[in-house]
């Protein structure tokens, strides 16, 4: 199945069908990265659309734009989509495209497993969103607290879509996690020691360790819920002596590490962007790496801070308050190191750099409001209100999404060979920064003044109409920003300035090769002698103009796609409660995995 260089180039141009087929069966990490990016961005737009409807509904008290039921579906799917189907896979797009290039590898360790991850993610996302088509989207919140999710209180298929869909998406994440750990540990170019790895690759590694440890926890929680709903078990059934708090502990034991799964990649991205545009290496490299590791580890010890209002008792509250406050330290250290990197630099405010600086500015606010409700008594007033909504949007939009946009503008030329337009990019940036602050900053007040989350209507007597209207206007300005970004993509596709190998003067390996990179990435595997190989004198062995011999790259395979189809068939069978469909899906899965295992990898 391996394709040689010359052979690959000619087949790609054959016909439209052949081109589509080549994308469907591709195992090239760069193509899979593009697929991840495009799919996740479309889902990001869908999640954003849901947010805009939510904001329209809340623009005034007592609004009746959507019904209570629709509203509950919208906020559930907004959260679920943004966490699992937008931000995580957008990060995955960068892992896929950038990490193998940054470590001087030809592909990931398991190219077909990589394709499998993508197709499972795509089909899982379609499965979950198909619920809208039959008017039964999940409606118990992205956190799906037991026992509201029990059949007694949620008899429809809404929760079935959710419990099955999340399990599917979890498979994609765990498979990708294992793949990237294996890739980063084993496939680094000669001389690229761990402490020479680019920080983005480091943060990817930390993130993937969290993924492979955290996702099994939520999978267990989801399997329990699935058994309760499908087979009448009693894990969360209070009447039978089950415990509703079991769900909360399992969910947040996953859920808090998940927060770091969302933010660490963005921290990695801006740790690349800031040095490049300050023309200085990252300040305190080792400390930034270790603080990322520490955040990953400490992230496991704080879950009960999501449960202060449950009444776990003063001792547990004190302990979890202390561990939560501790996380502020490595996070603060990262911020100080980014600022120190820019200190004394020669800062170019490209769009990418603007987004990176926007990340820092907004993340500081999100971090500080986080410290506020790390204090359990304060949290008792703030949790489940718009104060918390403000907090995590500063962290996840102001942090993760701005970081992702910084990454998009930074690596776009590497992916496409053309630069995104800087003037349009700046319009995009300013609309996004003004819109998001206008949308999210008032939410601090809205929460402190008594508005709970997840309510489709509120009493005009609360006096919160004006501030809610401001937040809605802000959300639409953000939406306009996203449209401007799409214009930029469309404009730059044909008219963007040619990028060249290294348009930004970056220091890491991906900038040593052409844009877009050839299918084999590197003409010869470089030997790396520096943390900043392109800036250091003699930082790496020079790359020859063309490969000295044919390079074997992994060939296409449709077994991963078919295996993903099998998994989704099983979920569909479970959803419609038709056993033969479940078994049929299982057969497809087993046959595909078997065929995949015995597929010859090299010609």
């Amino acid at each position: 199945m391996a394709t040689s260089l010359a052979h690959d180039a000619s087949t790609v141009r054959d016909s439209l069908m052949a081109r589509i087929w080549s994308w469907v069966t591709t195992t090239d990490h760069k193509r899979i990265g593009i697929l991840y990016g495009v799919t996740a961005f479309l889902l990001f737009l869908l999640g954003g659309l849901e947010a805009l409807i939510i904001r329209l509904q809340l623009a005034s008290s007592g609004n009746t734009l959507v019904s209570a039921e629709t509203y509950n579906e919208l906020f559930t799917m907004h959260g679920t989509t943004m966490v699992f189907m937008a931000v995580m896979p957008l990060s995955a797009a960068f892992f896929n495209f950038v990490v193998p290039l940054q470590i001087g590898a030809r592909d990931v360790a398991f190219p077909r497993l990589n394709a499998f991850s993508y197709w499972v993610f795509l089909l899982g996302s379609l499965f979950m969103n198909a619920s809208f088509l039959i008017g039964a989207a999940p409606n118990a919140g992205w956190f799906g607290y037991a026992n509201l999710t029990a059949t007694q209180y949620s008899p429809g298929v809404n929760i079935d879509f959710w419990v099955l869909g999340l399990q599917i998406l979890g498979i994609a994440s765990i498979a990708a996690g294992i793949n990237f750990i294996a890739t980063i540990v084993n496939m680094r170019a000669p001389g690229l020691r761990m402490m020479r790895l680019p920080v983005f690759t480091w943060m990817t590694l930390v993130t993937q360790f969290i993924v492979v440890t955290a996702f099994p926890v939520i999978t267990v929680a989801l399997v329990f819920l699935m058994f309760d709903r499908f087979f009448g078990t009693n894990f969360y059934s209070v009447a039978a002596g089950g415990d509703v708090l079991l769900w909360q502990h399992l969910f947040w034991l996953f859920g808090h590490p998940e927060v770091y799964i969302l933010i660490l990649p963005a921290m990695g991205i801006i740790s690349e962007v800031i040095p490049t545009f300050s023309r200085k290496p990252l300040f305190g490299y080792a400390v930034v790496v270790y603080s990322g590791l520490l955040i990953g580890i400490l992230g496991w010890g704080v879950w009960a801070h999501h449960m202060f209002q449950v009444g776990l008792g003063p001792v547990a509250d004190s302990v979890f308050a202390a561990t939560t406050m501790l996380i502020a330290i490595p996070t603060g250290v990262k911020i100080f190191n980014w600022i120190a990197t820019m200190w004394g630099g020669k800062i170019r405010f490209t769009t990418s750099m603007l987004f990176a600086v926007g990340f820092i500015a907004m993340f500081i606010i999100g971090g500080l409001s986080g410290v506020m409700h790390s204090s359990p008594p304060a949290d008792l007033q703030q949790t489940d209100t718009y104060f918390v909504v403000a907090h995590f949007h500063y962290v996840l939009f102001g942090g993760a999404m701005l970081g992702i946009f910084a990454g998009i503008y930074y690596w776009w030329p590497k992916v496409t060979g053309r630069l995104l337009s800087e003037p349009i990019g700046k319009v995009h940036f300013w609309l996004t920064i003004v819109g998001s602050n206008l949308a999210f900053f008032p939410m601090h007040f809205i929460g402190l003044l008594g508005m709970p989350r997840r309510i489709y209507t509120y009493d005009p007597a609360l006096g919160l109409d004006d501030m809610n209207l401001v937040a809605t206007v802000g959300a639409f300005i953000m939406g306009l920003g996203a449209l401007v970004f799409l214009v930029n993509v469309w404009y730059s596709r044909k008219r963007g300035a040619p990028a060249g190998d290294n348009p930004w003067g970056g220091a890491t390996l991906e900038w040593a090769i052409p844009s877009p990179p050839p299918v084999y990435n590197f003409t010869a595997l470089p030997e790396v002698r520096s943390r900043v190989p392109l800036w250091a004198k003699d930082g790496m062995t020079p790359l020859p103009e063309s490969p000295s011999e044919d390079i074997h790259v992994p060939g296409g395979s449709f077994w991963p796609v078919l295996a993903a189809v099998g998994i989704v068939l099983m979920a569909i069978g479970a959803l419609i409660k038709v056993l033969p469909v479940v078994l049929g899906g299982g057969v497809v899965l087993i046959v595909s995995v078997y065929a995949w295992a015995f597929e010859p990898f090299e010609v």
Binding site: N72, A140, G141, L148, Y153, V244, S278, R279, P281, G284, A286, Q309, V310, G311, A321, M325, I329, G332, V333, F336, I339, M342, G344, K346, I347, R348, F349, V371, M372, S375, P376, P377, A378, L380, Q381, Q382, D384, W430, I433, V434, L438, F441, P442, F445, L448, L449, G450, R453, R454, I455, Y458, A461, M467, G505, A507, R531, L534, W535, A536, K537
Partner: protein, 357 residues
Amino acid sequence: MARFQRQYVPRVNNAPRKHPHGAARSAAAVVLAAAVLVVSACAGEFPQSTLHPTADFGERIDALYRTIFWWAVGVFVVVEAALLFVILRYRERPGSAEPRHVHGSTLLEIAWTLAPAVVLVFIAVPTIRTIFQTDGTAPEGALEVEVIGHQWWWEFRYPEYGITTANEMHVPQGRPVALSMTSADVIHSFWVPKMGGKRDVLPRRTTRLAFTPDSVGDFSGQCAEFCGASHANMRLRVMVDGEGDFAAWVTRQQSLPVVSESLTGLARQGAELFANPAKLCFGCHIVEGISPGVLGPNLTHVGGRTTIASGILPNTTEGLTRWIRDPIGEKPGSLMPQVPLTEDEIAALVAYLQSLD
């Protein structure tokens, strides 16, 4: 570190560069907008504000929050100012020299690890003190109220007085109140911001809250844990009464309701409808001595409440009429069905309910 002391020479890039225009101006606009919001937030009347508590529980939290808030403001100003200084001072200008490649400073790393740690100590100590002060244990002699959360209304029981009521909790000013709370169905959360923080209300568990209200008044709150279709409509009130008013309220609640036979006119018709099994009322609602229902709120003294349907409608003729006419329209998912009634029958029932004061 020694390995990285070498001076690196980044590749020169000749792409045209631009300086940020109006960055400071836009930042100023955002700050101004925020300031306007702060001012408007302080000026208005906010019945569910956490910032103006009227009970010891809320006041302790507020004092702690203000401490943390000012620390956060301090950190915010220092760090954002540093960021602003750096991006203004070190932005590329024509002819600026290539930066020196500094790789780190152990001293600085230690300093900015310790600095947040020290700030956190100043936050953690009062935090832990407040946790133990507000853990829900009430002093001796507190008024015990049992809270039961239902989809989507609140039941309050006063074992001391043998009273059961719904959605409006009366408590006397100055006497500690001890809530012991549980849920009849899913998880809810009891939250009356002016009294203090929220506490989840869970099935098969008992959670506690304690507070001592210090001002007379009518304080609104609502369920804070998502509990299904009408979560937004699960509101409640804590009515803090002066001592005399509270005693009068207790006496009123302990009295038996008006007997149907003593009623006249429309209310009399309503009483008969209420007792008619075909109209479904008494299957769910208790009127002490008259009907045994247990699923819905106790209506023995419903006429004395200010709101109905867990705070979403005023307890007026119009409010009651709307509610009885279409409960599910008013409160999506409501377990109270739409009973087929003529407008005259509704008017009669409303008159009866209003007589139950």
